[in-house]
Amino acid sequence: MDKPLASYLHRSLILVALLTFSLTGCSRNDVYPSRPIELICPWPAGGGTDRLARQVAHQLEQELNVPVNVINAVGGNGVTGHTRGAFADPHGYSITLATVELNMLHWRGLTSLNPRDVEPLCLLNRDAAAIFVSNDSPYETIDDLEEKIREAPVPLKASGTSQGGVWHAAVVGWLIEQKISPSQLNWISIAGSTASLQELIAGGIDFACCSVPEASALLDAGKIRCLGVMGNPPASAISSKIPLFEESGISWKMGGWRGIVAPRNILPERRDRLCAALEKVCQSDEFATFMNRAGFDCSYAGPVEFSSMLKDWDCEFGEILNSDAFRSAQQPRFGPMFFPMIIGTGLLLSGMVLLLTKQFSQDANAIRLSPQVLMQLLIVPAWVVIYALVSPWLGFVLTSSILLITTMLILNVPWKTAIPVTLIMVPTVYHLFAVVLHVSLPWGWMGW
């Protein structure tokens, strides 16, 4: 076994490498784009931003003739996705659907990432903020509400997004503009406009702030009313009866935006290729129909215009988010360590009781871990570690083939079985995930 094993291993590895190459097809890297592009969406599947991302991906795919896969890198109020997009390899194969949070997160000290770290490609849409109350609310106009906020003995409860989010900033900016102290506002930090609107109709808050398309279903259902829009309302027909802030003599304007950005050092010719494709997508009828039906306000802007807008907005948000009024409006009720402290205490208590009553004892049926067994168990961490470290360089196909075949040989599978199994498994899995389902697999420097 000892001599043949080494030579079999050697021979079979070469054979597998060659065959998998030929089965998955080789791709050259000098034509751009020659492999799938990832479009990072910093928000979860199912939301408005995700829907937009999937539309852009779908049309960009036809424009560039390579698959465009949407990846939802969700979390941290957008920190995760934006950071990942900005610091991805600038090879032009990862772009990001950035949102207004790019302008805000750095002012709030959540990340050092700011608009200067990205290369703006195009602006897709802008959504103005709007104020909503539940249908049975006593406030009929924005002036009623203002009056109430100004004079209420207990601060009014409002939400729309988490503390420090775009709709929070919009409300605080409006109050400052109208010379109302933001301490008259009790902003409840509820993530997402859907959950906030649910809270509004359940009677948990007095008013909500979000964009008109996010609220259109409930508006139509007659469950909520819109008191005013902070800027231009979307062009869709439903919003025609919606009052505007400027109609009440309030000049305050605020809203969110969505656009496509790339990592900063992207090669100029690839950036231009992407910009051209994106422009075509945004000017298409299909895109206009989509935006109109989804209720998004379509406002395309090219890279030059978009980057100057980004700079302006950044200053604007800096002013609000750094203002004393805004900072004083944020008073966290419970420190971030409150909940972990309770859990920690519970863990300590239950752990101690379990220890004292000897309930942590080993399962009598558990397999004894002799040194030989432990050695064998090491295969698993080794497998995963090698995969995690090597596959981003070598690509999915080669890494997994090598790993599959070596583990099988270690586990005494005859090589006559191991090689065919690998040859069937790896290309099948690759085609299934990367080609059919558009699910991301690690890409190496040679492509797949």
């Binding site: 920190v79 207990v154 988490s162 649910q198 808050i205 139509d220 944020q330 191991a418």
Partner: protein
């Protein structure tokens, strides 16, 4: 109404292309659901670009049937590999796998399949009969009510933990602790990230779930492979002999469908209970399919009554396992229909799947809301019919999937283990496309293996990770809404009722545990 119903029928069940789409979508759903790491939500999200060139009814037909199939298919890898295919199966991993290890895979999956079909139909019935009235209840739920609901959900695995509630509580607290990592919705700063931007998003529960259940099982199988001789390492083979006719028709009928059907005929009331509980929980935006399975498993009557013991070959443990599988599967399937209630009536998504559905509807120029019942009655009736059609389609497709999945147990363990490893890493990577999740999966796999040796259950860890964030958010939101007063938690009548129920269950559970402990000590001394 009758007119609309006829029109709906001509739009749906009388069209060949709708049947074909339902068939294709069912197969696709089974497929995605059976791959660990790919959830039902992802199945729909990946399908969205296809809906652009479909008419509304075929598009909805595809979504309804793929989701129904994906949620059932999550049970298949749970039984065969102990990796839950979707988080909705996490509530009954131990039960399903325990049965499979005894060679009762067909029984467990047959039970899951039938219960899913019946549960789905009950859910559809709830949607059809009382959708618009029920939706009003959903709008009464504010953050305070959700706080209690999540707390109730979290109590479930402790209640079902038979031998040691304390160990289950310990596991739950570990899960809750893990959920605090990252930047939450209610706090200005991130916690326990140690400066790593990747930890800002927290520890994803899907890679954790794959690690805890899947990878830890790979460890155990490897250890077993080493200590037992190869002949024994093969699991109990399923009988596959006989003619083609016998294998293709008689076997599935005899071994998969009939025993489950007989058992269910004794469990009608339990099924109705699980179905309604599932639909009620699914209806609440922010609760959803996963929690429905947990709650229903907790409500399951663990001790079978005498009359259900018609099958002498099963131990009481097997019986109780089958009952839990049945109740939880019925609930998660009926919750799928429940999620549509607030979506259709108010345009408030009941879960992430219906959020995508609303997007698709808007794309087709259909605005969900009360008006949809008048303006688009045929469409609404069409959706009802689709739910019924999809659940009937699940039966043959699910049966086929169980039969095909059964071949996995014939693969020798030493070939299977590397392939499972491959699927674990792919699944962990796929959800966010991030290698960081692969590392999380590895760490959780080691944790799962070690915990299991100390008999600490793993399911509660997953539930704690799912509900920890929302629980804390709702708590802080309620308290800040009440200007810092704890009374905010019980001020509203609905919140008070839910809080009272939670407290009563906790006291009852604690007393029961205390009693057990005292009687055990007395016997010991």
């Amino acid at each position: 109404m009758l007119e609309s119903l006829f029109e709906a029928a001509s739009l749906t069940i009388l069209r060949v292309d709708v049947w074909l789409i339902v068939l294709a979508a069912s197969i696709y759903g089974i497929f995605i659901g059976a791959i660990p790491g790919l959830t039902a939500t992802m199945a729909v999200a990946l399908f969205v670009p296809m809906t652009y060139w479909l008419e509304p009814i075929p598009a909805l037909a595809a979504i309804v049937s793929m989701v129904a199939c994906a949620i059932f298919a999550g049970d298949i890898p749970t039984a065969l590999l102990r990796i839950p295919g979707t988080p909705a199966s996490a509530a009954y991993v131990e039960e399903t796998y325990r049965l499979a290890q005894k060679g009762l895979t067909d029984r467990a999956l047959g039970m899951g399949l039938w219960s899913s079909v019946v549960g789905g139909l009950i859910g559809a019935a709830v949607l059809i009969l009382s959708g618009d009235q029920l939706a009003r209840i959903a709008t009464m739920f504010s953050v305070a009510e959700y706080f209690w609901l999540y707390l109730l959900g979290l109590s479930c695995p402790i209640l079902v933990a038979g031998d040691s509630r304390l160990r289950a509580a310990f596991a739950l607290l570990i899960g809750l602790g893990l959920s605090t990592v990252g930047l939450g919705a209610v706090h200005e700063e991130a916690r326990f990230t140690f400066g790593s931007p990747q930890l800002y998003q927290g520890i994803g529960f899907i890679p954790a779930m794959i690690g805890l259940f899947g990878l830890s099982e790979v460890f155990s199988s490897l250890a077993r492979l080493r200590t037992t001789d190869p002949a024994e390492s093969r699991p109990v083979p399923v009988r596959q002999s006989g003619t083609f006719r016998e294998r293709a028709f008689l076997h599935p009928l005899r071994e998969i469908l009939v025993p489950a059907m007989r058992r269910l005929s004794y469990r009608k009331s339990a099924l109705v209970r699980s179905g309604t509980v599932g639909a009620a929980i699914g209806m609440l935006p922010g609760a959803g399919v996963d929690i429905a399975a947990w709650v229903s498993a907790a409500l399951s009557n663990k001790r079978s009554k005498e009359e259900t013991r018609f099958d002498q070959s099963l131990t009481p443990q097997d019986e109780s396992d089958l009952n839990i599988i049945s109740d939880a599967s019925a609930a998660n399937s009926s919750a799928l229909a429940g999620c549509w209630i607030p979506s259709l009536v108010f345009g408030i998504p009941g879960d992430s799947i219906t959020a995508i559905v609303i997007g698709v509807l808007l794309m087709k120029n259909i605005e969900p809301g009360p008006a949809i019942f008048e303006k688009q009655a045929p469409l609404v009736y069409g959706i009802y019919l689709l739910f019924i059609l999809a659940n009937f389609m699940l039966l043959p497709i699910g049966l086929l999937a169980i039969r095909l999945g059964g071949y996995i147990v014939h693969i020798p363990k030493n070939i299977l283990i590397p392939i499972i490893l491959l699927f674990c890493v792919i699944g962990a990577y796929a959800i966010n496309g991030s290698m960081f999740d692969v590392w999380i999966m590895l760490v959780m796999g080691i944790v799962g293996f070690l915990f299991e040796r100390r008999r600490i259950p793993l399911g509660p860890i997953v539930l704690g990770m799912i509900l920890g964030g929302p629980l804390e958010e709702r708590f802080v939101q309620t308290i800040s809404g009440a200007n810092g007063s704890l009374m905010g938690l019980v001020e509203r009548p609905a919140a008070f009722t839910l809080g009272f129920i939670t407290a009563a269950i906790w006291i009852w559970a604690a007393l029961g545990q205390l009693q057990n402990w005292i009687s055990a000590n007395r016997r010991g001394s």
